[in-house]
Symmetry: C2
């Protein structure tokens, strides 16, 4: 059996976030779904960017944020995602490599530019995302390096990949390699609209291919088409060995080998920007799991990482999560 | 006489800031002058960026930050600076135009990419800057639109322009047009190393061409080659009609028509990143001056704008300075 070299191999859309403040009237005037993620084309991206105020650019992408968080905790990660060989692509690669993350996919040298996510943060700290995938769409099964997947304790993928046929094939290939190598396969449902688009396929994945599922309350309710959280919880207990269901300030519910654990949220003095909350919860949980921590400690690590990222702008940690975890006695 | 359309026309290096945290050992290991601004070439920029940790990108440039701050206060600004037609150039233009600033210089379509300033912020909130000018160097006198300068109450320029012959000519052309139109000419000394490079020329400018000079303590001492602040103060009183001398947490000293006023610094609960402090002081002061405020109110507006920008990462305001000024009874 291959030696474990990486705690987690992530597969996701490689995106640069473009973050700006605006109020709810801006969302309404521009037809942006509050709290959601909408895919947009290049023309809409140009139009919307033209209307946005002065912005800050930083590396993002749901799964990439998770891998960055894992690295900040001291974990070893790999990330598969596609950028173009342009300035924003250079920014993305610089940022992820500077964290010690293995980044094997070669950038595209032609075609659409590096993808970006236009994020409006409203005064209530909620983020609303409009994503132009650009080069991120070009990820295919050929980009998945078998040795890296085999050498990773967990292969973790974002549901957003399902929007693109090539990325979906990359996902399925990686899941197959991971399973055959006796590794864990993990999926985050990404957002409730995404679940709405691919419910049947995600249910099959949860049942047949996924060992560890991440979802927030809206996503898990949508997956099982119920309004009752406990019903969804009983379903996921049957379908997956592990699940981490996040409920914002009400904490999380962890399923591990049929047992259910409730974990409190970490207190935050001021929530500034919720971008990356779910991504960083997954980072903390995956770090705990791959280090052999018990389910409650995994949930607490997730809560700690999520609390850090929502206390400032941007989707990635600004301080060492390893030190935060040590201070809390969780490392 | 031309009608005033702009409060301030600024001329400066158009740069995107790349901001990352590190400690003093990183500065020493990489030969970075703490607290200063060093010009670097493309190879050094690539090398240093490769060593820097994950970063955040946002529009910067000393004078451009000032014009952005003026706009945030409700002032009307124009900015002359050169970017390339590339992704970072697009970011720069988007951000400045989104504030309602007039940006007449056409981007370069060939040659070096948009310039960037690699900023290391140490735990003491001090910033150390390594600047790759790139396309910013291509600003020439031809880029200066006479009508805009004539229609601006103040033409404000950064000392950094003196590093490039073309930009220097742009400066001199604009100063001449402004003077002939009966407008004010203003200069910031930028940094003490910059003053060291061009002391004789800056002294001549202060004496003959500049009506309003901005400098911090180190810069004004270097300009007049003295260790005694009061000696430098007496010199600048003779040379310029207006001067604003900033002394960090000790506030500022304002010279106006021979009179000297001392203004306290604005209190800041936590200084996060001093990038842009001087630029935003100038923004507040220029806004006050062009709105006919008395010298002490101008200084207080400067202190208020500087306090906002050092309380977070990045060189531009994150909240409406107009609202802050209103709350303080300064607008």
């Amino acid at each position: 059996m291959t030696e474990v070299k990486y705690d987690v191999a992530g597969i996701g859309n490689a995106l640069v976030d473009v973050i700006s403040n605006a109020d709810d009237t801006f969302l309404i005037a521009n037809g942006i779904e509050k709290g959601g993620m909408t895919l947009i084309d290049d023309r809409r991206a140009d139009e919307l960017y033209g209307k946005m105020g002065a912005a800050v650019e930083m590396s993002g992408g749901s799964c990439a944020n998770t891998i960055a968080g894992l690295a900040s905790l001291g974990g070893k990660g790999a990330f598969f995602g596609k950028v173009k060989k342009d300035q924003l692509g250079e920014v993305f690669i610089h940022d992820i490599k500077s964290l010690g993350v293995h980044f094997p996919a070669a950038p595209a040298t032609s075609g659409a530019p590096t993808g970006r996510c236009l994020i409006i943060v409203t005064p209530d700290a909620q983020r609303s995302m409009s994503t132009y995938l650009g080069a991120a769409q070009k990820l295919t099964a050929d980009d998945i390096d078998e040795d890296t997947i085999r050498a990773s304790a967990v292969t973790y993928m974002e549901g957003y990949l399902w929007d693109e046929p090539g990325a979906k094939q990359a996902f399925l290939k990686a899941a197959k390699i991971a399973r055959e190598a006796g590794r864990l396969v993990s999926l985050t449902l990404s957002d409730s609209f995404c679940v709405g688009r691919f419910r049947d396929e995600f249910r099959r994945l949860a049942k047949d291919e996924v060992d560890l599922l991440f979802a927030n309350e809206a996503e898990i309710l949508s997956l099982y088409e119920t309004d009752v959280f406990d019903e969804a919880l009983q379903q996921i207990r049957k379908d997956c060995r592990f699940a981490a269901l996040t409920r914002s300030e009400q904490g999380s519910v962890i399923v591990a080998n049929g047992e259910v654990h409730v974990v409190d949220a970490e207190k935050v003095s001021k929530v500034v920007d919720t971008t990356g909350a779910g991504d960083l919860f997954a980072a903390g949980f995956l770090y705990g799991l791959t280090r052999g921590k018990d389910p409650v400690t995994c949930g607490r690590l997730g809560a700690l990482a999520a609390a850090e990222v929502i206390s400032h702008y941007g989707p990635r940690p600004q301080v060492s999560l390893a030190e935060l975890a040590k201070a809390k006695g969780l490392a």
